[in-house]
């Protein structure tokens, strides 16, 4: 039998079902992996060993009586942006270092109700603002493929843990690429569904018109399995969409013959590392060999997506993060002189540099005299970008390209230059601005570091993305590659 930690979620589900091992045995094996490897990676903010073993025992008992859910006894990790009742939720920030949520996020509630076992909370860029996990108050996460490199961000703890075979799957959130970029840099699968598909209730808000929850896994099949549980209408999220959730695992086995794959010429220009581009073109050739046809499409406003994002996201963040006032929860400064001093010092001390920078950027673009020039303008350009996608999807079913401009970069390389860091998300941000589903699928190595194929679909076409990715993974084994030190 393949060692438990090497198995995918789907394989583990079969093993549990056929009684090859119990959930307690599986959970203990993975907790041993956490103990062995987390010091190198710093992928966890909180490890919930006792709770995990108790849930696993409960799952084993439920299996005996045939009452377990579809994920009964399967271990996962939650990004520390999801509120978990009774377990601290830090969002990677000193501001919430000691925050214990009084309720569960809907995502947490749904996965737990299906029987998932939570091993812990994963490290992340502070308030999900970053592309390298270097902005975390709890220190950077390291990439299992090369410990000097970033595992991406903001869901970097999730991507590192899944890549290192510490957990078969982890939740993540994606505001500008925060699931797909870390998946790409760690050789894992990451999917961000359509905006509104998964509830944002209990997911600490960064930019509410862009934030969406998803998963990081080792196969498209596993992603389909988890997404089906997480997705669905939630009255507690005012932008949740009331549409039925298909069983994503049912159609992934279907052929992609005749699938129209859009190729964006602008994706392959000077900004893309040549070897990364070569891996992506090889992946597209595999899709063609499976019967897909390629069609050239154009996204003429792509260059403006990053500047648009860096107006819209900071504006929304400056508003969302105004709730951290040192009064109701979160960090509070000692001995405030007056109420204003309490606010200013609590926030000045509780937030890190990047978060403060984004709050100030957002405050600036929303301030009197600048609103029209920046915020309103960005909202107009956002529509142009969304319209470009709409036109493209009139002729194609998916758009394929690179997830990131290059493989993982070294920790420390970009942290002092916000603009260079921001440009890492150039291929991923468009999907957030337009609210489209998108995923990253491992498509090979460049200098021993993984790179990802990026697939974007029209609204509510997660099934097509997952099928395309799954069919690709039937022909290739890039998603099974494991960093040597973590086999």
């Amino acid at each position: 039998m393949t060692e438990l930690h090497s198995q995918t979620l789907t394989e583990l589900a079969i093993g549990l079902e056929s009684g090859d091992f119990t959930s307690v045995e599986l959970t203990q094996a993975l907790l041993d992996r956490v103990a062995e490897h987390n010091d190198k990676l710093n992928a966890f903010v909180t490890i919930t060993a006792d709770e995990a073993l108790a849930t696993a025992a409960h799952a084993d008992a439920a299996r005996e009586t045939g009452s377990g859910g579809v994920l009964n006894g399967l271990p996962i990790i939650h990004k520390d942006i999801f509120c978990t009742r009774g377990i601290r939720t830090t969002c990677g920030s000193k501001m919430l270092e000691n925050f214990v949520s009084p309720y569960d996020a809907t995502v947490v509630e749904k996965l737990s109700a299906a029987g998932a076992v939570v091993l812990g909370k994963s490290n992340m860029d502070e308030f999900a603002m970053g592309s390298s996990t270097e902005t975390s108050y709890f220190g950077p996460v390291r990439n299992p493929w090369n410990l000097d490199c970033t595992p991406g961000g903001s869901s970097g703890g999730s991507s590192a843990a899944v890549a290192a075979r510490i957990a078969p799957a982890a939740t993540g959130t994606d505001t500008g690429g925060s699931i797909r970029q870390p998946a790409s840099l760690t050789g894992t699968v990451g999917i961000k569904p359509t905006y509104g598909r998964v509830s944002r209730y209990g997911m600490i808000a960064f930019a509410s018109s862009l934030d969406q929850a998803g998963v990081i896994t080792r196969s498209a099949e596993d992603a389909a399995r988890l997404l089906g549980v997480m997705a669905g209408f939630d009255a507690r999220d005012s932008t949740s969409i009331d549409q039925p959730v298909p069983d994503y695992t049912l159609s992934i086995g279907d052929s992609i013959k005749g699938l129209r794959v859009g190729i964006v010429r602008e994706h392959f220009d000077a900004g893309l590392d040549q070897q990364t581009g070569a891996r992506v073109k090889e992946a597209i050739a595999v899709l063609e060999s499976l019967g897909a046809t390629t069609v050239e499409v154009s996204l003429p406003n792509l260059d403006l997506s990053v500047p648009t994002y860096y107006v819209v996201a900071p504006a929304e963040c400056s508003s969302n993060l105004s709730r951290f006032d040192g009064v109701r929860f979160g960090h509070r400064a000692e001995d405030p002189e007056d109420l204003l001093d309490l606010y200013c010092r609590s926030r000045g001390e509780g937030f890190g540099d990047e978060v403060k920078r984004r709050i100030m950027t957002g405050t600036y673009v929303l301030s009197a005299g600048y609103y029209d020039a920046y915020y309103l303008k960005a909202q107009q350009v956002r529509r142009l970008i969304a319209d470009d996608f709409k036109k493209a999807f009139a002729n194609v079913d998916v758009i394929a390209g690179p997830t990131t401009p290059s493989p993982a970069f070294k920790l420390g390389d970009k942290v002092d230059d916000p603009i260079t860091m921001y440009l890492n998300d150039i291929y991923t941000i468009g999907a957030n601005l337009a609210g489209l589903p998108a995923m990253s699928v491992p498509c090979g190595l460049v200098d021993d570091l993984p790179v990802g194929l990026h697939l974007v679909g029209a609204h509510f076409t997660e099934e097509i993305l997952l099928r395309c990715a799954h069919q690709y993974q039937q022909q290739t084994d890039f998603h099974t590659a494991c960093p040597e030190a973590f086999k």
Binding site: V100, P102, S238, S322, V327, L339, Q380, L384, P418, L433
Partner: protein, 95 residues
């Protein structure tokens, strides 16, 4: 257009952020770069384009005006830095 110290002071005050002198120096430099970067938007031709506030053209849902939440004040206040008798304590606002 680079931001000056007065502008960054004004922004920090609006955002209720107390910054150290070093943080001010760094913020002036980095925020100026960010503002330069987002100034690219001014090149876009957007006459007559309707601003997009939301990725899906969905209307805000309505619900019956009925109480849907139970009183969990005590649980919520466990996270508060200072409370008394169910109230949140702050420095004196009115002399």
């Amino acid at each position: 257009m680079p931001l000056d110290k007065d502008q960054v002071h004004h922004i920090a005050m609006l955002a209720r952020l107390k910054l150290s002198d070093e943080e001010y120096a760094e913020s002036i430099e980095k925020l100026s770069k960010i503002v330069d970067f987002i100034d690219q938007l001014s090149q876009a031709q957007t006459d007559g384009v309707v601003p997009m506030a939301h990725p899906l053209d969905a209307a805000q849902r309505l619900r019956p005006d009925a109480i849907s939440e139970i009183d969990e004040r005590d649980a919520y206040q466990e996270n508060a830095p200072a409370v008394s008798g169910g109230l949140y304590l702050v420095p004196k606002v009115i002399e």
